[in-house]
Amino acid sequence: MQLDKTAIVIAQRSAIDIIDLSLLVMRTYAGSIVFFTILGAAPFALLNLLLSIPILQYDSLATESIWYSSPWIYRVRYYFVATGAVFLQAPIALCLVTNFIGQSVFVERQSASQVGRAVFGQWRQVFTVLGLLRLGLVSYLALMLLCLIPEFRPEVEVTIYLLGMVGFAYLVRAFRPFSPEILVLERSPLFVDKKKADKGVSQSYRKRSSWLYSAQYNDNFGIHLILSLVGAATVLALCSGALFVSGVVFGKWEAGVLMDAIIFPLCLWTVASWMTVLRFLFYMNSRIRSEGWEIELRFKAEAERWKETLA
């Protein structure tokens, strides 16, 4: 890895600068990011829609008989379930984006087949960590259960799904956010045989994670909290904007099927894609800080200058 040949200037940045920089990165790689987001997220989004629409239909029928004053109220449950699903699945669904952005910043722009091959080469690790341990694919068990029996049951939805699965994943990702980068970009294996480990040739995912996160837990948690708020606010702004456009263009100021089935999930996946880029930038910043990349560049330049002066 040549630190002076990266697509982003190597410098330690504040959280706020990184969020701003992510917009610049999104603009620069917009086409490819959109392409890889659609490629990775489309199957997940379709399946989510199929599994969660019964909740919407059931709630719509159930609330017809009672008084309610807001056109949003019967959608609340559906929106929570859909948001939780995207939150759980985004790391595994957007692995292609992670790989693309990492390769583009450090090496060169990759073709779709190269990115696909690189990610599928790590499928065991990705499936185990992001799909099972981080509940990306396990979330479908809960969604299937809700699809089969759409009545509201707090013990399933609130206790198991929202507090259990989403809450657990939130906390794990708050303290250990960079698993996709460690697996997809650093290609850390889940287990390393003892000989390799002793020689220091390769580090297991677990060891690498411990090393990367040590002394950064507080920072990671704070950043995760801020990003959650920023992400939520952006989803709200995007949905509201879509509603405004719908009102101005079609005279329809209320959310309908289009909002529920298309626009809301689209907004969620758009923000998830942005958050993936942001997470990569925070990962890069974390390595700049813990490995002193910026200092390495300066020292190498100074050493060269010193040698030239002596010569």
Binding site: L23, M26, E108, G292, I295
Partner: protein, 337 residues
């Protein structure tokens, strides 16, 4: 293959008509957002204060002079006051305060012209008058409840966000119309507390040739390293330090196994913790003000007074009374351990 495009960063280079280049750090939407929130609260506070003053003034007039200000006049004054504040708060502050409002001042940002000059009254007015357009689309309160009034007062900021993403200098509509941009005020270097825990560094600093002078860039690099080294693992620290220390060791004629980390700390100590800055009664060393020949960096250095990372306990007497000269006991250059 190498990346051919210039690397991405939050900077903009401006060339003046005199062919002088300036580099500014651009403030993006998320750096500007806290300033907007602060300005909103400042404006609310001014309005609240205005109302309280008016009520007190009105009551005083009624009580002591018998003159009563009618509710209509009060309302009229309040509306005029609100209007002026809403539309000209930013314009007035930015015109007379070099592109800053209280919020911008608190967040260390300022609005400047795209050619690098300070903004004028016209630019400040235009960029602030277009602010509501940047807040669009507005949403009605009706989306929350059918009984709510159709008041379009909830800003989504989408127009400004999209506009900032697609422009090179993160400009919103108001900035584009006025030819302005918002940049970060480059603060002077703020010294961080640096822990130099190894007492051998003082001795080693005495061995550095007296004619060795740091360039400003090298001083900055070493200061950056010393400031951040505590967060870098030891093995990586040694690797990093060796990039610069290796040619220096050769030049100074030191043993090759001298710890590169210690050498850089010793250079830092010699450069920034001078004898003049040493106060004998304190554990804290104050560096002298930056000179023109060295980097503009001056860091207070705290010597650890307890067991250190390297397991070395610094004798308290050395910390309190010894000057760097006294501390040197002809210790030979130190090996890595």
């Amino acid at each position: 293959m190498l990346v051919s495009k210039p690397p991405l960063d939050l900077t903009a280079t401006i060339q003046t008509p005199e062919n002088i280049q300036f580099e500014y750090r651009i403030a993006g939407p998320f750096r500007r957002l806290p300033a907007l929130v602060i300005d909103f609260f400042v404006r609310m506070m001014i309005i609240l204060t205005g109302y309280i003053c008016f009520v007190v003034f009105s009551a005083t007039l009624t009580r002591y002079i018998g003159l009563s200000i009618t509710a209509e006049i009060g309302l009229l004054l309040a509306m005029v006051f609100d209007f002026l504040l809403l539309w000209f708060y930013g314009a007035i502050f930015e015109t007379y305060w070099n592109g800053q409002t209280p919020g911008k001042w608190a967040c260390q940002i300022r609005a400047i012209s795209t050619d690098g000059r300070p903004i004028n009254a016209f630019q400040a007015t235009v960029r602030n008058l277009l602010r509501p357009a940047d807040f669009m689309p507005f949403l009605s309160l009706e989306i929350f409840s059918r009984e709510a009034p159709p008041a379009y007062i909830i800003p989504t900021f989408l127009v400004s966000l999209i506009c900032m993403i697609i422009t090179r200098r993160f400009q919103r509509l108001g900035d584009l119309a006025a030819g302005t941009m918002v940049v970060v005020n480059e603060r002077s270097w703020v010294p961080a507390k640096v822990r130099l825990e190894d007492p051998r560094m003082m001795s080693l600093s005495e061995y550095i040739p007296a004619n060795f002078r740091l360039t400003s860039t090298m001083a900055k690099a070493i200061a950056l390293y010393v400031e951040r080294r505590s967060r870098i693992p030891t093995s990586r620290r040694l690797e990093l330090a060796s990039y610069l220390a290796a040619p220096l060791l050769k030049q100074f004629g030191f043993r090759e196994d001298t710890s590169p980390d210690l050498l850089l700390c010793a250079i830092y100590y010699r450069e920034f913790v001078s004898k003049e800055a040493f106060t004998s009664e304190s554990k804290v060393f104050r560096a002298p003000p930056p000179s023109s020949t060295s980097a503009p960096i001056a860091a207070p250095v705290t010597i650890a007074d307890s067991a250190t990372q390297s397991g070395v306990t610094i004798p308290p007497l050395l910390i309190v009374t010894a000057s760097p000269v006294e501390a040197s006991n002809n210790v030979p250059p130190i090996s890595q351990n």
